[in-house]
Symmetry: D2
């Protein structure tokens, strides 16, 4: 009998047992566009109180086999791939609850606001698929923007401005169609202004003007993200963290639908 299949000394059920920080290469073909990811993957299943351990290498095998199929078929999204991996795991290893997440970069092509030049913007995303009697997923985007303080502006006409990070996390049934691109757009438009990798002088002036027209606390950014996420009709959680230019510390806000 395998060591893993023995009865453990301490008979306690475990919620999550698996692998973290596994990096691999994934090619996704979606709506005729190809995306390569080298995500960081976490994959876990639960473990009954009667077994000493899980068979870790089976998790890896399922990831590799799914990726090889995918390379041949090339029709997955990260969430389809995640579900495929968890289903394959079930054929090799019993579990009641399982989950897999991919942390990766999503590149979006944009135009600068005034000079209309092409620029590429990279956003951090997390795609998580969970099985617990039913299939669910969590989609998360982390987007850079800024805040311009409305309180100081009102008091003196001058104010402080800083980089901020906004996060939107949607939890829904697996089948629901939620677009990461739309989630990113919601967060970007909730800041005092969007930011861009390339800014010519006229673009920079436009961004500065936009910031001054939209003074926002982190509280405003968080609420705006939530308000505009109502359209998805699912559980949503939003955060905004502002890397204050007048303090050593950060300012933070979090809420949920």
């Amino acid at each position: 009998m395998n060591t893993q299949d023995r009865v453990p000394d301490d008979k306690i059920k475990l919620n999550k047992v698996g692998i973290t920080d596994l990096k691999t290469l994934i090619k996704i073909k979606r709506k005729k566009k190809e995306y390569w990811h080298t995500p960081t993957i976490n994959i876990c299943i639960d473990l009954s109180e009667h077994k000493k351990g899980i068979h870790m290498s089976r998790l890896i095998e399922c990831i590799i086999e799914s990726l090889e199929e995918e390379i041949e078929e090339e029709h997955y999204s990260l969430e389809d791939l995640g579900k495929n991996i968890l289903e394959k795991v079930r054929s090799k290893h019993s579990y009641e609850k399982g989950e897999i997440s991919f942390r990766s970069d999503l590149p979006l092509m944009k135009k600068t606001p005034k000079s209309r030049k092409r620029t590429v913007e990279i956003h951090e995303i997390v795609v998580k698929v969970m099985y617990d009697k039913a299939w669910k997923k969590v989609l998360r985007v982390e987007v850079i923007g800024n805040t311009l303080c409305p309180h100081a502006l009102e008091l003196s006409g001058k104010t402080h401005i800083q980089r901020a990070k906004g996060t939107l996390e949607i939890e829904c049934e697996f089948e629901k169609d939620v677009s990461l691109e739309e989630m990113i757009e919601i967060v970007e438009e909730s800041f005092s202004s969007q930011v861009y990798t390339l800014l010519k002088s006229e673009d920079e002036a436009h961004v500065i003007e936009t910031m001054h027209e939209n003074p926002r606390f982190v509280e405003d950014v968080t609420r705006r993200i939530l308000e505009r996420s109502k359209r998805f009709g699912c559980k949503a959680r939003a955060e905004c963290i502002s890397y204050e230019s007048i303090h050593r510390h950060n300012v933070y806000s979090e809420g949920e639908l």
Copy 2:
């Protein structure tokens, strides 16, 4: 009327609004021993849907005022200090839910196992105090140790060994007396072996012997931590992450009481 006290555009209640990553200097006097901390502090309160923002500087003022009192009185633990700060916040700012956490280092004096030399071991801890109708706290310790794989050892008499990190988090009513030192000891004794900063040859031989007598999966470490935490009679959560020596990725386990 202050900008913060206006009605917000998007009338949504927020769970947490406040400050993160604030560092300060704290001197604690406890059982005649003095401890200095330069913790990283997060402090948040909730915000009603009728107010645009919280008054961030009042949070900081309450931290500073509590620290000045504390420097005079010198009888606080980090949790007493946290509660004191949150109570002070309530006298300056209304809230329904509030929380403060301190991430810091806890130095423990030990003897090496065989040569009996003095050594200092530093552990990461988090102390969190929460108010939501009643006072609660969360205590967390993060402790370095190791795992020696029982499966490989059984198959061939040889095996792989690696550094691991064990985490224990206890959630309980505020008044309950739970010792961080005892929590650290529980995690240390759940590994294949404890680790030490100083090891003379005879100590190193002892650690290696101990590891080989206690082959453990991350699942075993997690369960052992949980089993030994039953004594506290509260909600407990344990994790073990193993920085595998035979893989690029980590192996992980999590459970709760």
Copy 3:
């Protein structure tokens, strides 16, 4: 006159002025294989004591224009691309010294050692191109492996094992052909054993056996990397850091040719 072109208050020459932590999407076609990178880019030029500032947006424009050409031509390596960008910068902005670096992931396809299954291994790399009268480059690979302590093994027949990271950095004239894949292979073969993402039981037994046949200190790993890098005939620097399983701290070694 542009603000940047004014005389600065403090007339001091600066070594490096530019942009850090810029992420973008790069597609490289090399020997008929395609690679996508979303690297982190740093790009800097020097600045004379007579000018207040550099024109930052020109650096970005040069990156974007080079990438657009590259997407059409698809024949670059990261180092060709870096040189192209720096040459383009010179047509828009004077400088005496310039450098650009790309930090990225390099996926390599491998077979597991015994079961001969396919596995993908991801390594961190840095490619840096520098201009200072002549063109030079620095190539860096960071590779995960392990160390098995020869001293403890000799004393008692038992020992400690841990994950380690080896680094090799080659500095040479731009034209020289040095392969990142070969550099990675040199580091991998300098450890007590290579590591793999996928390991079936027979593979794991093989890795454990290999570690025990090759007990190595970090000093041994560093020297082996250097010895085997003599073939390149250039400046080389090697490091090994070992995440000790018997200590909280790490053990480190560094040397150069």
Copy 4:
């Protein structure tokens, strides 16, 4: 013969062999004020091509013994302590070059600029002591502040502002008296404005006013730090990194005296 004292397979001299990321507790008494540090310590010595390894545990022993003496005598600075440790190492282990560094926090008591309230500001510092025929030291401070863009301000009267980090590193003979507090003050005064943990409304208005009176590029900040460091009469290196509020990336400048 100890394994470490054998002849290595690859006879290559190594520059640095030792320990990294060791945390310990240090109490310093200086000008009647006491400071506690829990620094991260790196300690390395060189290794001749004729020895396989260094005796790592002797480095730790020297740290622990020096700390115990220090606790009794209580008259050290971090640099005195570092020199004491390296001298002790030499009595137990031969070396030609040795170095030790401490990364720690330095708390400074300040008054807010207008309301004159007490606030504590924590700065990151590195103290490094090196022996190579003579004793030298490197002192480094990393200080948070901000930049306000002069170019945008000039063009439109409005501008962007962001958090920035300034670094000053001084290298000099060991005996030279250079104050970390003075180094921190130089960096703070080189930004568009200093930042504070506590800011009442009147203080915040003052900081915002100061930023607008001192528009600065990262280039200006770096040069100002260098200009004001000429007073030390030693090798100095300065950096400024600006976490741009209008971009995802950072802007960087570096120079030296």
